[in-house]
Every structure is written in structure tokens, then in C-alpha cells.
Amino acid sequence: MKSITVLTPTGTLGYGFGAEALERGMTLAPDVIAVDAGSTDPGPHYLGSGEPLVSRYSMKRELNELILAGHKAGIPLVVGSAGGSGCRPHVDWTVDIVREIAREHGMGFKLAWIYSDIPAERVKRALAHGEVRDFEAGFALSESMVDETVALVAQMGHEPIAAALERGADVVIAGRSCDDSVIAAFPIAKGADPGLAMHMGKILECGAFSAEPFAMDVMVGIVNDDHFLLEPGSAARRASVTSVAAHTLYEREDPFHQAGPGHAMDLSQCRFEQVNERRVKVSGSRFIRSEDYWVKLEGVRRAGYRSISVAGIRCPTMIARIDDILAEARAEALRYFASNRFEIGFHVYGRDGVMGPLEPQRTITSHELGLVIDVVAPDQELAHGVCHHVSGNLLHTHFPGQFNTSGNLAFPYSPSEIDAGPSYRFSVYHLMKLNSPLELFPICVEEL
């Protein structure tokens, strides 16, 4: 087999990469540019709202550079988890930007896009057949939870992307995808060993995070018959055995065994070798095909509407009693509204605002506290009302040992309450069995 070279410009499309790194990376004669554009990492909001993760400016600027680089080199561009969550509005938004770029440059090419939205009825049918299982959510999925879910996608494997490439697409905009599959699809379609291609994908998907010094930047992978090679695009970085091996740990629980759609990866026998100053060789990655094809579902429900208030506390006698004062403010709001249809929470920076229950230091040593009052209610008006009531109560409350009677909270803003809109939570994080790898990932192709 001829070696296949993949250039990954960055860890998340829209977060930037170096011009020098791309230019230098392109001199390694890649066969494809492949990049991931999303994850669940920024939280449930993007899937729920359909709002893209990065600005249109960032996405257009970076897509523009990559489309031009790919066009000049005569190689395809693959983007996975388009828009952040890979849901339909995110795919359509990205496709629209690609069309605009083609128009502006008077370019003609074949554009493919792949949806990854899963109809609720399909999940219910799978539930009825016992073909849904919990992944890590810690609860079994039910029909009513599927009904509550407002947006639902599945992570596609490499097959739908490979199918789009086989149809001659120059640019593929894929919905929610396994990040390694985005990188591995082209090499696998061209006959590369799937174990090597997939492992290379796991490392390349974060761009130059596997290099030193690490960054959101260009990384190049070359897959051969029995190994693959990694080298950063920028001459200012290098790949080392420890930087690459360490990256195999990143953002996953088990460094040796990882399941994906239709397969499991065994990385326990991998070898990492330094072949020159900037290049690392990896071998021994094993791909074990599984009998059934399961994909990971990601869904969110709307929990309500959020309002927050941000304030500072500098009074030492108030800080000394902060736990009691907040508990009383919360209880008072529940009595006042004679309802428990809303949630009231406090993030107390300077106490345990960052780590919450995991914070081992239980005594406050800070001279000031930052307070975020967090309210989620069934509608925005109630959320705002409750949040304002709680902040007003805390502002004027009396407590033993009080010296300053003119107000207890330093608000940096007017209004003191900020309406954050709908609040989404993950409601589905489960595996579902498919009839085929392509079943739920329709491919659209358009000649631009």
C-alpha cells in the first residue's frame, strides 16, 4: 500500500492554527485535510439551542484557508462534528458558509454533507427491541425521556464519511462524528489498516496537542503498512514519544481499550519510537471488528430558563456566616413564591465555587467572595423574578454581627440579573444498535 498522509490543521475548527504551520504541513504532500469541529465538551447548550460553538467569522476564516489549500493541492477536506454538536442546524450553517466561500472565489467543487440527527421514533423502536444500553449516564433510557429530548444526534463512524468521499466529494461536512473516524475515514477508504488509521485519528484529532510545545495547531500523520508517523506542521514544535504517548490518555478513561462504532481498539501492545528529532513512529494498534454495530447517542432536554446574578462580598462578618445566610435566603424564596417549580443554587468563589463537593479545603481564607446566584425555572419571567428576589433579599438581609447596614452585595452590573435563556441538560448518553453503519446518516451531494 502507498502511504497515506493526513493533515489536521487544529484540534477544533474555529479555534485557530498557524499560517506557517499550515504552509509547512502542506509541503509534506498530504492526501487529505481532516479536522474535527465539535464535541460535548462545551456542554449541552449547543446541541439544544442549535447555536454554533464558534463565530461565523472564525468558521469562515478557517474554512476559507483550508478550502483554498485543499483546492490548490487537489485533495479533499473533511470536517466532522460540524458547528459544535453536529446537529442539523450546525451542518446547514457550515454548508452555507462553504457555499459562500465557493461563490466568493468562483470555485467549482463537489460538496457533500451528512446529517446525524436521530428520529425519536427510531430510538423508541430500538428501546422496544432492547437495542439501547446505558453508556456512562448511570440511568436506563425510557420512552418518556426520549419524548423530553429536544435534540438528538448519534456519533457516526468512518463509513458514512468514506461513502461521501467515494462519491467524489471534494469537501465533506459531517454531522456528529467520532473524532477519530473523521481523520481515519480517508485512509481506511484507501485501504489503510483500520487499527493504525483509527489510532492515528485519536491522536491527530486534537491537532498539535500531541506535540511539544502543545497548541491548537497543525499536525500531520502518515499511515503505512505496519505503522504510522506523526509530525507537527510548525517547525517550532516536535513530536516526542512522551508527548504522543501521553496524548493517548487525553479526555478518555481507559488508555488501552476503547470501543467505537462496530469495533474496539486494543492499544495495549502499542510501541512508540522516536525516528528523528520531530517525528514519532507508532505501531501495534489493533482494530477488533465487533459483531454488532452500536453508535453513541447524545441528546439534551430543556430544563427551563436560567437567570443569574453576579455579586461580590467583602464584609468579614458576612463571610463568617455565609453558609447560614445563603441557606436562609434560599428557604425564604421558596416560602415567598410558595412553589418548588424552580431551582436556586449558589456558586461561592473563595469558598468552593470551582470544586463544590470535591473541594478538600473547607475553611474560607479569602478576604472576599464572588457569588453567582443561579436560578432555573419553567419560564424566563419566573427565573428572573426568583433571581431578583434572592439577590434583593441578600442585599438587605440582617445578620448577627452586622456592622454595615446599607447593603451586603457589591453588584458589578445594572441590571443585577442576567437572563441566560433556555437551559439544556444531557438527557441521552446511551448506545444504540444500528442495522448498518450508513442507516441513520443520510449523505447529500451537490455540485457547486
Binding site: A137, R271, G353, M355, L358
Partner: protein
């Protein structure tokens, strides 16, 4: 001879926390060199028990621990106390939960 008590930060180059999906919090400890890695492994400083203790959680909330010689690393994963983005979650990326590991005591044998 008595020496000053050592902490994990004296041996590690990187100690980091991150989400591994919405329901797991995973910690990577990457060591400076082979000797540091071997010393900490031998000291048994990083165990499910010591990590549970550092975070004040029951040991069954530590879902896994791996020693990874090729990466010169130890990897440990906790069940997230709250699902990512659930009400009350305080760290969307789970990337600021590492601090208690910096000061994890490492007791080495005196030579």
C-alpha cells in the same frame, strides 16, 4: 536520615483534569523522567484509596486507575459529582479539579 516530605508535584511534569464525556472526570499525571515515575509507582502514593481521600469521596466513586509506562503516566478517573452542565455543575470542561493531586504526599524509602 529524615528528608522533607515530598508531594506529587515534586515528581510530575503535568497534573491535569478533564471531562471524559459528560459523566466522568479524568486525571492525567505525567512524570518528569523515568526515575520520578518509578519512585512514585513504588511509593504507592497514587491509589484509588489515596485519590478518594484527597477528594473526600467514597472509593467506589473512583471508577478506574491505570499505570501507563509508555506514557510515563498514571491515569485516574472519578465519576463526576454532577453531570456536565447539570444544575449546580461548576466546571463545564472539568479542567480545574486537579489541585488536590498536586499536594498528594509521596513517601519514599530512605536510602
Amino acid at each position: 536520615m529524615e528528608t522533607a516530605p515530598k508531594r506529587l508535584r515534586d515528581y510530575a511534569k503535568i497534573i491535569r483534569s478533564k471531562n471524559a464525556g459528560p459523566y466522568r472526570l479524568t486525571f492525567d499525571i505525567l512524570f518528569r523522567d523515568d526515575v520520578s515515575f518509578a519512585t512514585v509507582c513504588e511509593s504507592q502514593a497514587v491509589t484509588k484509596k489515596s485519590v478518594a481521600h484527597a477528594y473526600g469521596v467514597p472509593i467506589d466513586q473512583v471508577s478506574s486507575l491505570f499505570v501507563v509506562p509508555m506514557g510515563r503516566a498514571i491515569k485516574v478517573t472519578l465519576l463526576r459529582p454532577k453531570g456536565q452542565g447539570d444544575f449546580g455543575d461548576s466546571d463545564m470542561y472539568g479542567c480545574q479539579q486537579h489541585a488536590p493531586l498536586l499536594d498528594l504526599p509521596v513517601q519514599t524509602r530512605n536510602i
